[in-house]
């Protein structure tokens, strides 16, 4: 095909990606946006296949078939409650793809590919001119090295994130020396990149980059707590976007630049939104544990003798009398898969003339917008999901707040106790409501590991038990009343 036509079609694909993201700015246009974006991808793929450089279709057909199969099964089988894991896994595959592409590019430009493992470590005679003339060759080598590094790190990092979210890995491991150990690893891989650029035929340096980066991904993410995984994933996603944009520079390809920049900014902005919503800096999320807190807070002292508990049918009586109820979901609702039960409870209340809204904290659950997706699955209309800033002033006029599986995002210590590690994090002020019902299995803390004075307040009752079971019992009691 005429190269101008090819470039033009790539540009069209880039515009489709822009329109896709633009569609995502409104729920109404979002489905169409996603389809436009997918269309852009299809066009870019087709044009690449027709572009003449591709002659051997066997591997491609095999890869596309296998990949589509796996991707489709994953996408259609996954439960909505497991969305964070799914995104982590997809992100890992993306990293793996970048890694293998850069490796393939390296060995193909090198000319002589090794046949056995011992051969891999034998240096080959090559100069940067294999990769492009003059400075372009060096730039290409640097970009290959960096892409391998980012790709490998994203691969293992995302897999660890997946394992943590899926609760396959519960404990935290880190390199001895913590950030310093990681720093040494990072410096070592950077040195390997420099070696590769200086002596492009030094295949052992390439192997070293791959190995170091894979390990670095493991060690960087393993010490980070499970609930902080979304931040890690957004950040890794942003890196992969920037890497794609850099590749676009090398290839002079507009669609890579446009798509890569969009992904890069998206990841960074989501990271920042999460950090602001938690009132923590990015460094703190990545390297710090949560601030240790001035004094150790004694949970027993806070709770002792002050916690009231109730049965679901008692709560149902409260709900029947209420004019306005706000439901505040958290990670526990996802764990209990209680979203449908919650919707049914809300339906019953509304049938009795109660006004029901949902108060959604920006970092409730395990990824931004997690609760919105779950409740959308349960067919709760999205205009009932009210953001923190807008729901907070209404709590004073609310008769009952039902907190289901949320903890940290309702903890009044964030507002009041200056020494607390979560001090300054904006929260849902559920304690301002006339009555608070908290549904969880025990008094055990949430992700931040802190006791929650909300549970000990006079106007709070605890309903102990699995979230779904408790809610179903409330609905039954309410319908019989």
């Amino acid at each position: 095909m005429n190269p101008t036509v090819v470039s033009f079609i790539y540009l069209v694909a880039g515009v489709l990606f822009i329109l896709g993201i633009k569609g995502l700015t409104k729920p109404k246009t979002a489905v169409r946006g996603n389809k436009l974006s997918a269309l852009g991808m299809l066009i870019a793929v087709i044009v690449t296949l027709l572009d003449g450089d591709v002659v051997n279709y066997n591997f491609i057909i095999a890869g596309v078939l296998v990949g589509s199969g796996i991707g489709a099964v994953m996408a259609l089988k996954i439960q909505m409650t497991s969305m964070p894991q799914m995104v982590a896994l997809l992100n890992g595959f993306g990293g793996g793809a970048s890694l293998t592409i850069a490796l393939a590019e390296y060995f193909s430009k090198l000319g002589s590919a090794p046949e056995s493992f011992s051969e891999i470590l034998t240096p080959v005679v090559a100069t940067s001119s294999n990769f492009g003339s003059g400075p372009e060759g060096t730039i290409a080598l640097v970009s290959i090295g960096l892409t391998v590094l980012i790709g490998a790190l994203t691969l293992t990092g995302s897999l660890v994130a997946f394992a943590k979210l899926q609760e396959l890995m519960k404990k935290s491991y880190g390199l001895p020396g913590g950030p310093i150990g990681n720093g040494i690893f990072l410096v070592a891989s950077a040195v390997a990149v420099v070696c590769l650029v200086l002596n492009p035929g030094n295949t052992a340096a390439m192997v070293a980059i791959v190995g170091l980066a894979l390990l670095l991904g493991l060690f960087l993410v393993m010490p980070i707590g499970g609930a902080d995984m979304p931040v890690v994933i957004a950040l890794l996603n942003s890196y992969s976007g920037i890497a794609a944009a850099l590749a676009g520079f090398i290839l002079g390809n507009t669609v890579l630049i446009v798509a890569g920049s969009l992904v890069g900014t998206s990841g960074l902005i989501l990271t920042q939104i999460m950090c602001v919503a938690m009132n923590r800096s990015l460094t703190n999320v990545l390297f710090g544990k949560m601030a240790a807190g001035g004094e150790v807070i004694d949970a027993d002292e806070i709770y002792a003798g002050k916690v009231t508990s109730a049965q679901p049918d008692e709560v149902a009586m409260m709900l029947e009398m209420a004019k306005r109820v706000v439901i505040v979901p958290g990670y526990g609702m996802a764990m209990a898969q209680a979203q449908h039960a919650v919707r049914e409870l809300a339906d019953s209340m509304e049938a009795k003339g109660v006004e029901v809204e949902y108060g959604i904290h920006p970092v409730a659950g395990r990824m931004p917008g997690h609760m919105n997706v779950l409740l959308a699955e349960a067919e709760v209309p999205y205009d009932k999901l009210v953001e923190m800033e807008r729901i907070n002033p209404t709590f004073e006029d609310t008769d009952v707040v039902i907190v289901i599986g949320a903890n940290d995002v309702t903890n009044p210590m964030a507002r009041e106790s200056e020494g607390s590690p979560i001090y300054g994090m904006p929260i849902l002020n559920v304690d301002k409501a006339k009555n608070v019902v908290v549904i969880k299995r025990s008094l055990s803390p949430g992700f931040a590991g802190l006791p929650n004075p909300l549970f000990a307040m006079d106007h709070t009752v605890m309903v102990y038990g699995d979230g779904k079971k408790a809610v179903v019992e409330m609905t039954t009691a309410l319908n019989q009343a």
């Binding site: 996603n34 890869g63 489709a72 996408a75 592409i101 520079f249 990841g267």
Partner: protein, 93 residues
């Protein structure tokens, strides 16, 4: 070099555009945004296709290309499908 400046200009404008667009996405759609941009980052598939389909090159390159195509396709197909599944659930009252 003239071309490099133009690419740089394109990159900078895309970043500005990205910031303007992404900050407009409402919190309700943040999860689909994450999976959707994840799918977009599968645009590396373009590079994977070139690696897997190149002609004379050694088997290792084609093999790596095959792995790359598979992984990138999972990313793309899985990402768009799951995003579509989520978005289809969002309804107004």
């Amino acid at each position: 070099m003239e071309i490099l400046i133009l690419l740089l200009a394109l990159f900078i404008l895309s970043l500005f555009l990205g910031v303007e667009l992404i900050t407009k996405v409402p919190p309700t759609l943040h999860t689909p945004l994450m999976s959707g941009t994840n799918a977009v980052s599968g645009i590396t598939l373009v590079g994977a296709l070139l690696a897997a389909g190149s002609d004379s090159s050694p088997l290792l390159v084609n093999g790596l290309g095959f792995v790359a195509v598979t992984l990138a396709t999972i990313n793309v197909v899985g990402g768009y499908l799951v995003t579509n599944r989520m978005l289809a659930m969002f309804k107004r009252k």
